[in-house]
Amino acid sequence: MADLGCTIAGIESINPFWLASAPPTDKKYNVERAFQAGWGGVVWKTLGADPPVINVTSRYGAHHDATRGLIGINNIELISDRPLKTNLDEIRATRKEWPDRVIIGSMMAPVEKEAWQSLAVQIAEAGVHGLELNLGCPHGMCERGMGSAIGQVPEMVEQTTAWVKEVVNIPVFTKLTPNITNILWSAEAAAQGKADAVALINTVNSIISVDLDTMAPEPTVDGRGTHGGYCGAAVKPIALNMIAEIARAPETQSLDISGIGGITNWRDAAEFISLGANAVQVCTAAMLFGFRIVDDMIDGLSGWMDTQGYRQVADFTGAAVKNVVDWNDLNMNYDLKARIDPEKCIECGRCFIACEDTSHQAITITEQTDGHRRFDVVDEECVGCNLCYHVCPVPGCIEMEAVDTDRPYMTWPEHPLNPVKDAG
């Protein structure tokens, strides 16, 4: 049985599954239920200086698929709306009752040294394992000069991180916003400020939908709405890319990474970890299904690790990073052709219309004498784009086959047709 224990920023956790700072970690009651369910740690809902914020209703919007499955949600909630002392007392009590679980204190403050440092010290004294700096909230708090208003300015990221590091001796996670042009600038700033780890992503700024009857964005508050933070399965690809960028850039490579964004099951978690996350955090999936989802995360991940021969999480942490390269490092001579298995084909025609209308007209339909239709790929036209393979509803019906080109690995900079080919 694989060992799911892991270490991030020097903190040991019984498994890599933590709950992200959000409603699921708002108070002792929730956190205890999460620990009972098996979560290895929590990042407590972001704390600010008193007086506590006041929230509006409604607060969440939804992005459904055709069967009312949720692709993502967005929210316009602020940070913890309970008094600081209440939160700190509960953190203290929970730490005592659950000594083997991790509790990280999340915090935010305006860009004033004193504000950051006094809050950081108060939270650290409550006994948390580490602090997470919320520099990402893209709604509400940013209008008060906090959250993403700080996270979007690298100098402020470095500054706030450094302020906190100056006054506490527990690990500091700087939580980054994806609402920027280049994640490396924020990550480098966190590294400059001596962060022990970065946590990402926070939510993606968004308007999730418009109520076409009232002509107002959703969630709607008394006829009006505002942009909010998008999260859940839909944001996973954005998060994976940002994590991979940080994991492979020389300037940020040494940072530990707490991976967040759309993680819904063990497979998602394994992907984050393979791209360099040392542990992961989950919010939306727990909000949609409850804390019980960690059960499958735990045995799904350890089952998969057993089949792969990984004995501990560290065995595959970052294992995929070396294969993430720039486009310019890809092999121009690699060639794939689509192969359609007539035995598995159900004749839906989806591959045909996709390739015909929008790709390379590489699929033909042949009427058979028995009334059936046969779908074939014309190799000369197929560019191996994968589109047909993705739209095909039958698993394994279309395979992409590598054809032997007999040509060497050749990148674009080396390519004879490259007009700006390096002379050397």
């Binding site: 055709a66 009312r68 159900i346 219309i353």
Partner: protein, 442 residues
């Protein structure tokens, strides 16, 4: 407790017995069912539909919350899409062709989704008819019969700008939609509501209680109108050629269904316990199942061959079995016993000879019955057709639905264009309308 309609059956139970056999889908169910559709290209289901409804497109529209658009897609090809959604044997048409059968053994619920969409349009409070008429051509076409073929033809002719007179022998329109289809397929007076919707296009006049024949010969209609379409269906029934006409308690299944469609309570009050249905088609099944639902306790269906040879689909056969209809196969009626009132039918056991011919084994047995329903096929009533060419019991037509007389067209059950199904009649009516339009434009 309600007053019983017959011993052991009260009005509430009777209504329940005749409630929708495929209850309508709710919004959420429809979305879930629509999500099963793969949105096939050049879809097998569309190819299998006699009217070629663009099924993937209408289902896609349901999934995006556009049911009225979905209905328009359906009705553009099949103006009686509402009845077809209820009555089509989808198990041998679109749903049989659905690619999901191969993928996971179950088709998309095309019929029920079609009903969901069409009902949405027909039931909506605004009465905007979804199609409009072309500029008036000044031409007038006579349509004989207000069944599916006649109605589909009339509607398309009106769309194309022509004026239409429908002549219908019965007091109500709809043909077998009103008088023949099983009651549990056409609940809530749907046939009439649908006709009202079809007429919403305008420029269609229906004249009731007028039959093609002596008082209104074909030749006169041909003169008074620029063209004629005949959609009179098959109004005669085949005889067993036994002594059936002389006994009480022997009835043509179609007239039994016609009675029950019009007043189920009356038929329920009078139907005896022991009912014997002779035949192996959908009419036989419908008669037997409805006899059970009306309260007959002992219903037997006899067919001279086996289940595989029945023209009723498997689904229909199973429906009969589910309703406790007893099936006696390989039995051919030989004699009807009784004095004034039928008492039993004597059958001969049949089997297949070495050459595949049906042969009698010589074994005889009888089945007692108080009501015998014969359902061994309908036939064309050709007396009203004058000189029109008829072959093998159907009106002869060309590729363009034209009969042996120029300007007179025909379609539906009275011709042999395909299976005798509502959907085929609609397709015939629609295509004949285009042929008539081309004819009128010369």
């Amino acid at each position: 407790m309600d007053k019983p309609v017959r011993p052991g059956l009260d009005a509430r139970q009777l209504a329940e017995n005749f409630s929708d056999i495929h209850p309508p889908l709710g919004d959420f169910q429809a979305k879930a069912a629509a999500a099963e559709c793969l949105y096939c290209y050049d879809a097998p289901c569309t190819r299998a539909c006699p009217t070629a409804i663009d099924i993937p497109t209408f289902i896609h529209k349901i999934s995006t919350g556009n049911p009225v658009g979905a209905a328009r897609t359906i009705l553009a090809e099949n103006i009686l899409g509402g009845t077809c959604a209820r009555a089509c044997p989808t198990e041998v048409l679109c749903e049989e062709a659905c690619v999901r059968n191969k993928a996971e053994g179950e088709p998309v619920e095309i019929g029920r989704l079609q009903r969901y969409a069409v009902d949405h349009l027909i039931d909506r409070p605004t009465d905007h008819h979804p199609f409009s008429r072309n500029l008036a051509t000044g031409k007038k076409v006579a349509v004989i019969g207000a069944g599916p073929a006649g109605l589909a033809c009339a509607h398309r002719l009106a769309m194309l700008g022509h004026e239409v007179d429908i002549y219908e022998a019965m007091p109500k329109p709809g043909g077998l939609n009103e008088y023949g289809l099983a009651a549990y397929k056409m609940t809530n007076d749907f046939a009439q509501r649908e006709v009202e919707f079809v007429l919403g296009i305008g420029n269609i006049d229906i004249h009731y209680g007028v039959s093609l024949g002596d008082s209104m010969p074909l030749s006169a209609l041909r003169k008074s109108h620029d063209a004629v379409f005949i959609g009179i269906g098959l109004s005669g029934s085949n005889d067993l050629n036994l002594n059936e006409t002389t006994l009480n308690g022997v009835e043509d299944a179609l007239s039994f269904i016609e009675r029950l469609r019009q007043s189920p309570d009356e038929v329920a009050a009078t139907i005896p316990d022991r009912v014997l249905v002779i035949g192996g088609g959908n009419t036989a099944i419908d008669a037997a199942v409805q006899a059970r639902k009306l309260g007959a306790s002992d219903v037997t269906l006899c067919y001279r061959r086996g289940r595989d040879e029945m023209s009723a689909t498997r689904w229909e056969q199973d429906l009969a079995l589910k309703n406790d209809v007893k099936m006696v196969l390989w039995a051919s009626p030989d004699e009807i016993l009784g004095n004034h009132q039928v008492e039993a039918v004597v059958f001969e056991r049949t089997s297949l000879g070495s050459d595949g011919q049906l042969i009698s084994t010589g074994e005889r047995f009888d089945i007692p019955a108080d009501l015998v329903l014969t359902a061994i096929g309908q036939k064309l009533n050709s007396t009203a057709l004058g000189d029109l060419d008829v072959a093998k019991g159907k009106i002869t037509i060309s590729e363009t639905y034209e009969t042996s007389i120029a300007g007179i067209f025909a379609g539906g059950d009275c011709t042999s264009t395909g299976q005798d199904l509502t959907v085929q009649a609609v397709q015939d009516g629609k295509r004949a309308a285009h042929a008539i339009d081309a004819y009128l434009k010369g």
